[in-house]
């Protein structure tokens, strides 16, 4: 089936849009490419802003309200820029019974941020995840992409403070 809508131009001449565009084109610019396209945009830009959502929706011919509905349904997508560093605390079952609660409490006490918040200086975002699949290392956290296992609250807070 031919695509009936005109393809919009990328929001800016930032080269990263090429990656997003290519990923959509490989899937025929069809509506079912929406989630893959959002992944591509988030990988490229770190988060999804309105121009990204509009661009992806218009290219794939998906109504804006549906793009927004999808982007907000999945917890992996974020519509706000994250802090310079991120710390993902696992709150899955294995980590929960091995002290994830204490880790979150420690972070809040030590750094004054709760899950889904970023420190006022924009340095660090705290996120949570339900199981990182590293349960044998419980409690596990991911700091800037690196998994750290069997970590205590105090030790972690000290590390985060040092960043």
């Amino acid at each position: 089936m031919p695509v009936l809508h005109a393809k919009p131009a990328p929001p800016s001449d930032d080269k990263r849009w090429k990656i997003v565009e290519t990923r959509m084109r490989r899937m025929g610019d069809r509506p079912y490419a929406l989630i893959e396209a959002l992944h591509a945009a988030q990988e490229a830009f770190g988060y999804l802003d309105e121009s990204a959502l509009n661009y992806v929706g218009d290219t794939l011919g998906v109504p804006h309200s549906r793009v927004y509905g999808v982007a907000t349904f999945y917890s992996y997508f974020t519509l706000k820029p994250q802090g310079e560093h991120t710390c993902v605390v696992c709150t899955g079952t294995a980590c929960y019974i091995n002290g994830a609660k204490e880790i979150l409490a420690g972070i809040e006490r030590g750094l004054g941020v709760k899950p889904k918040q970023t420190t006022p200086d924009g340095k660090l975002s705290i996120l949570t995840a339900r199981c990182l699949g590293a349960c044998s290392l419980a409690p596990a956290v991911i700091v800037d992409g690196a998994v750290m296992g069997k970590i205590g609250a105090a030790e972690l807070v000290a590390q985060l403070e040092a960043m």
């Binding site: 989630i35 992944h39 999808v70 349904f73 992996y76 294995a94 091995n98 339900r130 199981c131 419980a138």
Partner: protein, 561 residues
């Protein structure tokens, strides 16, 4: 929203493999699955290869393998010739390993490895820790693609389904639906285009079996899917994998590329008319997308909300076409069954649960990690003999199976054999295979609250009983945990749990009350301690004492009219 776990970028490293030109006298298998990788396992591979070369050990092979099973003690290196397993290896301190490698005698036989390994029976994970997950030759060297080639050369699709039927294989993703029955429905469904989907969403918190299989033996999944596609007349396949598993995704993509190049995927596989190709689709952090109709919606680029069944995906699935959905472990069993025969597989197991099951041991247990055991092994054997018992020798309290739809089984039932049926009789559920062991430091009401919190957080919000009911259940449990509930609240909890179970649209809502039912069944005294005595026996919950003992909302509210 905006939980963004793990790194979105794939972690991929070039192989650093020392391969002897002549006979291999000794080898070092370095575990490069996620858990050990996070402890710099790849540096071990690189350094070890370099140091072997420096020490002139030209007859030593250093190779990257998938999960060696004992994740808790990682990073792990195994010398398969002697069966020695080196735990907590440091990349900067490999002297001991080099010495051991030097001293291996040619033709050495492995010595027994202790109950953690000896009591296991590896079928789905037979190659785990044995093959290099990024090498097709290695996979073929261990019997890989024999099954697919035999199927394509000698069998009809009906015969393949017959073999799977006789093996007694049932779905490993949760409910244990007979695999061959599902395959037959898809094969017989009307429609030219059919799809095969591998469910690699593995959302149960505390479960990491599928992850390890994908990271350790990705070709096996591709082979299993291809056999299934042949059996149901499908030409296209998808693997729906969690985005939180970047290493698994990277290895799958590598495996797909290598298999395509070698003619095991794509058009005219193994020079027959059979055509089948596979794509990876990423999840985006929604537990409910493990439910098959939600998964299909997600592959179609939509919000991952389930829809009522029937029609089942086997009849109306992806893009409205007949679609076969099976779990990773289900597919992992298929090549072995076709290679070794249905009778062999059916000879393992208990009752209607045939074959083996992979479990992820986690929680307050010594040997956390991945194990595969014949169905019918008792919980005690799994937790004490294989799992090494409870950390610090504390008393065992319960084992949680089946994830958020499962239940907690107390010490009295440790001698029960594990099968689909027995777990249901015990008020729990096989689920995907997570086993979380709890000791006396866990409060069972708190555990029930934890799972309810999970369910309300992951509820897709489509249907009323789950969207609203899971929150109301959580509120009641929270009230109990805080010591503010009355016995009337407990009645309310049981009544509401029943409504949510019966009325919800999909398995998430229907299963959400299970942790409540099972903890009420075995640990009602803990509920009563919180409610009547206002104390938490495990000392976990913070009891909030109200100035006067009046329960918060004792008076019913009027219906607005």
């Amino acid at each position: 929203m905006s939980e963004q776990p793990a790194a979105a970028r794939p972690v991929r490293h070039r192989a650093a493999v020392a391969t002897p030109a002549g006979e291999t006298r000794a080898s070092a298998y370095v575990c490069e699955a996620a858990s050990c990788m996070s402890a710099q396992a790849h540096d071990i591979t690189v350094n070890l290869a370099a140091q072997c070369a420096a020490a002139g050990l030209t007859d030593v092979m250093v190779k990257r393998v998938g999960c060696l099973g004992l994740c808790a003690a990682g990073p792990l290196v195994e010398i398969p010739q002697t069966g020695e397993l080196f735990a907590q290896v440091k990349p900067g301190d490999l002297g001991g390993l080099i010495t051991a490698l030097k001293s291996v005698k040619p033709g050495a036989t492995p010595k027994p490895q202790g109950p953690f390994f000896e009591k296991q029976l590896r079928v789905a994970t037979e190659n785990m820790g044995r093959v290099d997950p990024e090498s097709l030759e290695d996979y073929i060297g261990r019997g890989g693609y024999e099954a697919l080639q035999r199927v394509l050369a000698d069998m009809t699709s009906t015969e393949v389904r017959e073999v799977v039927s006789q093996s007694g294989l049932r779905g490993r993703g949760g409910a244990g639906y007979p695999t061959a029955l599902k395959w037959t429905t898809v094969a017989k469904a009307e429609g030219k285009q059919k799809y095969v989907i591998c469910n690699a969403d593995e959302g149960d918190p505390g479960a990491f079996m599928d992850r390890s299989v994908l990271e350790s033996d990705p070709f096996r999944i591709l082979e299993g899917m291809a056999i299934a596609a042949f059996a149901v007349h499908a030409t296209e396949g998808y693997i729906y994998c969690r985005a939180e598993y970047p290493l698994a995704v990277a290895r799958l993509r590598t495996a797909i590329r290598l298999a395509q190049r070698a003619g095991f995927l794509g058009a005219n596989i193994a020079d027959t008319s059979f055509t089948f190709d596979v794509q990876v689709r990423l999840g985006a952090g929604a537990f409910v997308c493990g439910e098959e109709t939600a998964l299909i919606a997600s592959v179609e680029g939509k919000r991952g909300t389930p829809r009522p069944r029937p029609p089942y995906p086997a009849v109306e699935g992806l893009y409205g076409c007949p679609t076969l959905i099976n779990n990773v472990e289900t597919f992992a069993n298929v090549p072995a069954i076709l290679r070794k025969g249905a009778d062999w597989y059916a000879s393992i197991g208990l009752g209607k649960s045939r074959g083996t099951k992979v479990f992820a041991l986690a929680g307050r247990i010594v040997n956390t990690g991945l194990v595969e055991v014949p169905m019918g092994m008792t919980l005690r054997e799994i937790i004490y003999d294989i799992g090494g018992g409870i950390i610090d020798g504390r008393p065992f309290k319960a084992v949680q199976t089946g994830g958020p739809s499962g239940g907690c089984i107390p010490a009295d039932y440790l001698d029960s054999p594990v099968s689909y049926e027995t777990l249901i009789d015990l008020g729990s559920f096989m689920g995907s295979g997570g086993m979380i062991v709890m000791d006396d430091t866990s409060c069972m009401v708190d555990v029930a609250r934890y799972f309810q919190d999970f369910c309300r957080d992951e509820s897709c919000g489509k249907c009323v009983p789950c969207r609203v009911g899971t929150t109301q259940l959580w509120m009641l449990l929270d009230k109990i945990c805080r010591g503010q509930a009355s016995l009337a609240d407990l009645d309310q909890l049981e009544r509401l749990a029943k409504v949510v179970q019966k009325m919800s649209l999909c398995g998430l809502g229907q299963g959400a009350p299970n942790p409540i039912f099972s903890t009420l069944r075995y640990f009602r005294d803990e509920y009563l301690a919180h409610i009547v005595d206002k104390r938490c026996p495990a000392g976990v919950c913070e009891i909030v004492r109200l100035p006067d003992a009046r329960p918060l909302d004792a008076q019913p509210t009027e219906v607005p009219a």
